[in-house]
């Protein structure tokens, strides 16, 4: 998709694009290169920061950093790489019927999902999805926390207003909000400073309520409590959705994403941890990476000794999204084009996919970093005797399990069940069962223990070991 912009003076391309609904992964630090956009037409001068973050070749090809690109006059940029699909959930759940309407909100780092629910029968009446407007202040939670230290409270106001608009004006009996610890702190206007440095322990992890007039929302809101570290109420409600707290044998809940999370446990006890995988699974930091939108290779198979790529929308391939990346790597291993240590075997160190889209050696390295972090987190917490692995989130929903096993992201010896947006479902389950909600939340918080993986010296070496693109088992 091309987008035509007419930026005002002193407005960056990032501002212009954001107004057009395109999310921004860079916090304006001009260092990460994450907000790379390709200028197809129009003059966008190259700054020093761009020279730092981009190669000569990229600059020649029209790539710029949106966060520091100042332009005058008409500019046409390529934005397909940042479109995305949002996963909602409408599974039937138990209900204690009561009058009126309520809502649940999955406040994600990248995306927002609001569901308005009929409390009499549990039906989902309306679903609203949007990009988190905080994304223009930074894609990852760290850059947003840093922004909040500089401009306290601003990101909280931004998100409360955006969610209020999504809720509409019809009166709501109550609204339950779930999100990770950073989202929780920013929403509530809590002090984020403890979350910006080791040991990442905040004293304000509890749930909190806002009366409707405080937020100017159509009903009172409750943000559910965090479990520890960066593991927030999105995972807490994932535990509710998968009934981890009611299982007699241990089960695992695995949320693969930029900030990956692992939860393992049963009614006897639950351990949880977060692991920073980086944006590779969302197509970030991958040369030809893009989100799962039109033109993305989302699926790769081996056919007649070559790679057969499926492209979303059926047209020419323009890039590769997370599920396509995992598939491509698995096929590459299968065909002997990628070794277990990640090295591409052909002379030009590229793995051509389709229509000129190819993976470079550095892309495989990014994948190794991301999958290594996730698999190491899973191995640290998961021993023998775990019955099943629930795979949460959008990526878990679209990924091909056989490929995830072949590259060593998922273990060989564990049954895997994708559970979709378990955060949203768990929140809806809690909304619809008000009589037991408090006791259940209290029980899960009491059962759960958060582990800081990076504090364990063994983790670093396990992480390096798990970067190998080869199958692994949790037992033996």
């Amino acid at each position: 998709m091309k987008l035509e912009l007419h930026p005002h003076a002193r407005q960056t391309l990032a501002d212009g694009l954001f107004a057009a609904g395109v999310e921004f992964p860079c916090g304006g630090e001009s260092a990460c290169g994450g907000c790379k956009v390709r200028v197809l037409d129009g003059e966008v001068p190259v700054t020093l920061a761009m020279r730092d973050a981009l190669s000569e070749e990229e600059i020649r090809d029209g790539w710029r950093l949106a966060c520091c690109a100042l332009a005058e006059g008409r500019v046409v940029v390529e934005v397909e790489q940042w479109s995305l699909r949002v996963l909602t959930d409408e599974a039937r759940v138990p209900i204690e019927p009561r009058a009126g309407r309520g809502a649940v909100i999955d406040l994600g780092t990248t995306t927002l999902v609001v569901q308005v629910v009929d409390l009499t029968n549990g039906e989902v009446l309306r679903v609203e999805t949007a990009l988190n407007p905080q994304a223009r202040y930074g894609a990852d939670v760290m850059s947003r926390l840093q922004y909040d230290l500089r401009q306290p409270g601003e990101l909280g106001r931004v998100i409360r207003q955006a969610l209020g608009r999504m809720l509409g004006s019809e009166s709501l009996r109550e609204v339950l909000v779930v999100g990770n610890t950073a989202m929780h702190h920013l929403f509530g206007g809590l002090n984020v400073e403890p979350l910006t440095h080791a040991p990442f322990v905040s004293p304000t992890l509890g749930g909190f309520r806002f009366a409707e007039e405080e937020l100017a929302w159509p009903g009172p809101a409750e943000f559910l409590p965090c479990l520890g570290g960066f593991v927030g109420s999105d995972l807490l409600s994932g535990i509710v959705a998968t009934r981890l707290d009611q299982q007699t044998r241990p089960h695992a809940l695995f949320d693969i994403g930029t900030n990956g999370e692992v939860v393992v446990g049963s009614g006897q006890g639950i351990v949880c941890a977060s692991t920073a995988a980086g944006p590779a699974f969302e197509g970030g930091r991958i040369g030809a990476g893009m989100r799962a939108g039109t033109g993305a290779i989302d699926n790769v198979h081996v056919r007649d000794g070559g790679l057969d790529c499926h492209v979303i929308g059926g047209g020419a391939a323009r890039g590769v999204c997370g599920s396509g990346l995992v598939d491509a790597a698995a096929c590459g291993i299968d065909l002997g084009l990628i070794r277990a240590n990640g090295r591409l075997t052909n002379a030009d160190k590229r793995l051509p996919l389709a229509d000129g889209v190819a993976l470079a050696q550095s892309d495989i390295r990014e994948l190794q970093l991301a999958k290594g972090a996730m698999a190491a987190g899973l191995r640290m917490l998961t021993g023998e005797g775990v019955e099943k692995l629930y795979l949460a989130g959008a990526f878990g929903n679209y990924i091909r399990q056989a490929s995830a096993r072949a590259i060593g992201l998922l273990p060989e010896d564990l049954a895997v069940e994708p559970v979709g947006n378990s955060a949203l479902r768990g929140a809806r389950m809690l909304l619809l069962t008000p009589s037991t909600r408090k006791a259940r939340l209290r029980k899960i918080v009491a059962l759960s223990r958060h582990v800081e993986l990076a504090a364990d010296p063994d983790f670093q070496y396990l992480y390096a070991e798990m970067m190998a693109l080869s199958r692994y088992r949790l037992s033996g």
Binding site: L48, D52, S362, Q368, A455, Q460, Y463, A464, E465
Partner: protein, 211 residues
């Protein structure tokens, strides 16, 4: 010297047992400890750095090579000390306060040690006072700071400033690195040098140590 070829190979291949055995053999054959370092370990780790630069090697291979080099150094180090050999320079290295990331810093520490430096590794989450104390008591001429989070980068500035206020800024050279760190940032906080890679850090340290 066939023994040193074996050692060179063992370091490149990341085989620490072979590296230890080859080092023992070389010493038994009468090779001088300093020759093992400068004639073998330094070029071997340079080669490992080069392989990383050209994307042949990645973090796991680097860690294995570093471990092999360390296995050799563990044998050679006491002999060097006994002979009173001076290192190329003394480096105090650590990940700055608030940051727990260890791998990048460990790789740079290994590369520096393989490059003939005496390395005092303070680990991760290191407060400015600890850098100052170590640099003073160990008489270091270089301090290397690592940070992997944008939110912990300010700890680099705090550390550089602490050296300034302690009146030690002229006595040590400070180098910085880590994924979010840039040359621009290094200049802004008044560090003496920045390197994008572990291999580059050795060259930088050599340059800074000479001045």
């Amino acid at each position: 010297m066939p023994d040193l070829d074996k050692l060179h190979q063992a370091v490149i291949e990341g085989d620490w047992k072979a590296a230890a055995a080859a080092t023992q053999a070389a010493i038994a054959a009468g090779v001088a400890p300093l020759t093992i370092v400068t004639g073998c370990l330094v070029p071997a780790m340079d080669e490992v750095g080069r392989l990383f630069e050209c994307e042949e090697y990645f973090v796991p291979e680097m860690l294995l090579s570093a471990r092999a080099m360390k296995a050799s150094m563990a044998i050679v180090r006491p002999l060097l000390a006994a002979a009173g050999t001076e290192p190329v320079g003394r480096v105090v290295i650590g990940t700055v306060k608030g940051d727990l990331h260890d791998i990048g810093k460990n790789l740079v520490a290994s590369m520096l040690e393989g490059g003939g430096f005496e390395v005092i590794d303070l680990g991760a989450d290191v407060a400015p006072e600890r850098f100052i104390e170590a640099a003073t008591t160990r008489n270091a001429n270089l301090v290397a700071l690592s940070a992997l989070l944008t939110v912990t980068m300010p700890s680099m500035k705090t550390t550089v400033d602490a050296f300034q206020s302690a009146g030690l800024r002229e006595k040590v050279k400070i180098m910085v690195g880590g994924a979010p760190v840039t040359q621009q940032y290094a200049d802004a906080i008044g560090a003496d040098g920045y390197s994008e890679s572990a291999g580059g850090a050795v060259a930088l340290a050599r340059r800074l140590a000479v001045v």
